[in-house]
């Protein structure tokens, strides 16, 4: 370490270790064709997914292409406003920039007729009653407040129906896509 000779006026002043300099980025977001179709539907209180012509999976929100098959998802599918909780988290951590009051429950919800869960809020139900397989439905904002954003759905709430079976990808075969079975890696078996 080098000894720095300070001017008289600074001697005895606590050294500065760091300064906090908030930075901000503002950007204009272009949702793209598929998201725009979806968001226009949301503004009309409709949930529009898109189906892959190869694997037949329905994506919501659609991104315009199937990540597995690499083809456009050209067929639009109108989805129910109800679905099943695939998994969830009770968030109880506070952090800088947070907009939600804790605790809150975020769930991965698979809407009926779709194949990829969306993440949304669960309300109108105590946190400790949320469970995998719970049936939930969308609660929309007032019609006057509808807009091209998933925030047009205020939250999801329990429907009161009996729990549904949850088919997690890979779980149906009892193993998981990335499981080794009998010491053999996936895709390497006989």
């Amino acid at each position: 370490m080098v000894d720095v000779v300070l001017p008289e006026s600074l001697r005895g002043v606590e050294p500065v270790r760091s300064v906090r300099i908030p930075a901000r980025l503002e950007y204009r977001y272009t949702p793209g064709a598929a998201s725009s179709r979806f968001l226009r539907g949301i503004a009309e209180k409709r949930i529009l997914g898109e189906r892959c012509s190869v694997c037949q999976k329905v994506y919501v929100p659609p991104r315009g292409a199937c990540p597995t098959d690499g083809v456009p998802t050209a067929e639009q599918v109108e989805l129910a406003h109800a679905g099943t909780v695939v998994s969830f988290c009770v968030v109880n951590v506070a952090f800088y920039g947070q907009e939600m009051e804790i605790p809150y429950v975020t769930a991965n919800i698979r809407l009926d007729g779709s194949d990829l869960p969306i993440m949304h809020l669960i309300q109108e139900c105590p946190a400790d009653e949320v469970r995998i397989g719970m049936r939930v439905e969308a609660v929309w904002v007032d019609d006057a407040d509808l807009g091209p954003t998933l925030e047009s759905i205020r939250w999801f709430r329990p429907t009161g129906e009996p729990d549904a079976d949850v088919d997690i990808p890979g779980e149906g075969v009892g193993t998981g896509l990335g499981s080794w079975v009998g010491g053999t890696a996936p895709g390497e078996g006989p």
Binding site: V90, T106, I132, V181
Partner: protein
């Protein structure tokens, strides 16, 4: 395809802490690099190229820090480049550096990875509101908690498994002078009673936020032989693999990702490993939340589906078990994010060199280093051995 052999001849790491207020980023990376060079008994002038990695620039808010770090890393007049694969970056940075030697391009490559979380807002950076979506994201824990819940259900695992992993890793860290956390008073009950942050993840089952860096000198076979002849045992690279997969695919298994299993299968194939549970002496795997230990044990072929948690419960992954895991204390005890993957790779190399000090596994000759990143979509692994491949 022919590849030259690669030897790990130097390893260095910083003292990881919540705040390394005594050093800048440049000082932090230089501390690790200087220790790696000293370990390898080489000087800055002996290095042919520098490969550096860190997690997103958004964390510290310093864009492209590799440019400003060039002189601190002695890279003037030499090739320098940056690798980025989110949390797995420390692993993939090591692999890219190894490939420069495997390809016969360079004799000695310095590879460094770091994070200075005290100057960062990682929770904020990982929780950016996505346009047109409700602002629900709550960091990595908020993203991974549902995956863990799915695993617990799928494997019918008892609640205490996550606690046992945290207790093991934090206890191992007491033997590692570099570790960030040295929790001498930790008990099963102190973990169990800690706050449920992202149910089912407790505070004490969560990685800390650390400042730290790791560095290695990777070298050609000739340099490795010289080191061995001089009594400075090198670690030999037996295999390296990276895999990625799309995050938003309907077919994706988020609990046991296909890419992770394929990455393991490829690295074992290169290393000639057919029965990882028996052949691998110890493993350092990327476990930022305790439940990822049993999940990755299954994903990496150490356990059958749904059985990973039994290895934890039976003590197989303890320091004195038959497959010690995270001997250093793991990510749960030190988490300078960008460096966390390299620390796993470096610990594997330290083990087969017999240089792991108090956390040495007796007779370790073949070890696995593992890292993952993003939404469990990037994977990096290597196998290192005491013997030449």
């Amino acid at each position: 395809m022919g590849k030259d052999r690669v030897a790990v001849v130097g390893i260095g790491q910083t003292e990881h802490q919540a705040t390394r207020g005594d050093v800048s980023m440049a000082g932090l990376v230089r501390e690790a690099a200087a220790r790696a060079l000293a370990d390898a008994e080489v000087s800055w002038a002996d290095i042919d190229a520098v490969v550096i990695g860190k997690a997103p620039d958004f964390f510290e808010g310093v864009m492209m820090p590799e440019l400003y770090l060039a002189d601190a890393l002695g890279a003037s007049g030499k090739p320098l480049f940056r690798v980025h694969t989110a949390g797995s970056v420390g692993g993939s940075t090591s692999i890219v550096a190894a490939q420069l030697v495997q390809a016969g391009i360079h004799e000695r490559v310095l590879t460094v990875a770091f994070e200075k979380q005290s100057e960062s807002e990682a929770m904020w950076a990982l929780s950016m509101p996505i346009p047109f979506q409700p602002p629900l994201h709550a960091g990595a824990g908020g993203y991974f908690a549902p995956h863990i819940r799915s695993y617990i259900r799928r494997a019918q695992a008892p609640d205490h498994i996550g606690i046992l992993v945290a207790l093991k890793d934090r206890t191992n860290a007491l033997r590692n002078p570099h570790a960030h956390l040295h929790e001498h008073d930790i008990t099963f009950h102190s973990i169990k009673d800690s706050l449920m942050l992202w149910d089912p993840i407790r505070y004490a089952e969560t990685c800390p936020s650390s400042d730290g860096a790791c560095a290695m000198v990777l070298a050609s076979e000739a340099v490795g032989d010289e080191a061995a002849a001089a009594g400075r045992t090198p670690a030999w690279v037996h295999g390296t693999a990276m895999r990625s997969e799309p995050t938003m695919s309907a077919d994706r298994d988020t609990v046991l990702p296909l890419g992770g299993a394929q990455c393991a299968a490829e690295v074992y194939r290169q290393a000639g490993i057919t029965d990882p549970r028996r052949q691998v002496d110890c493993a350092e795997i990327y476990v930022p939340f305790s439940w990822f230990e049993p999940m990755w044990l299954e994903n990496l072929g150490f356990a059958e589906p749904g059985q990973g948690w039994r290895l934890v419960e039976d003590g197989a992954t303890a320091l004195d078990g038959d497959l010690p895991v995270n001997m250093s204390g793991g990510v749960l005890s030190s988490n300078p994010i960008g460096a966390s993957g390299m620390l796993r790779f470096a610990e594997a190399a330290m083990q087969v060199r017999g240089a792991a000090g108090e956390h040495q596994v007796d007779g370790a000759r073949l070890a696995v280093g593992h890292a993952y990143g993003g939404g469990s979509q990037f994977f990096a692994m290597w196998v290192v051995g005491a013997d030449k491949p």
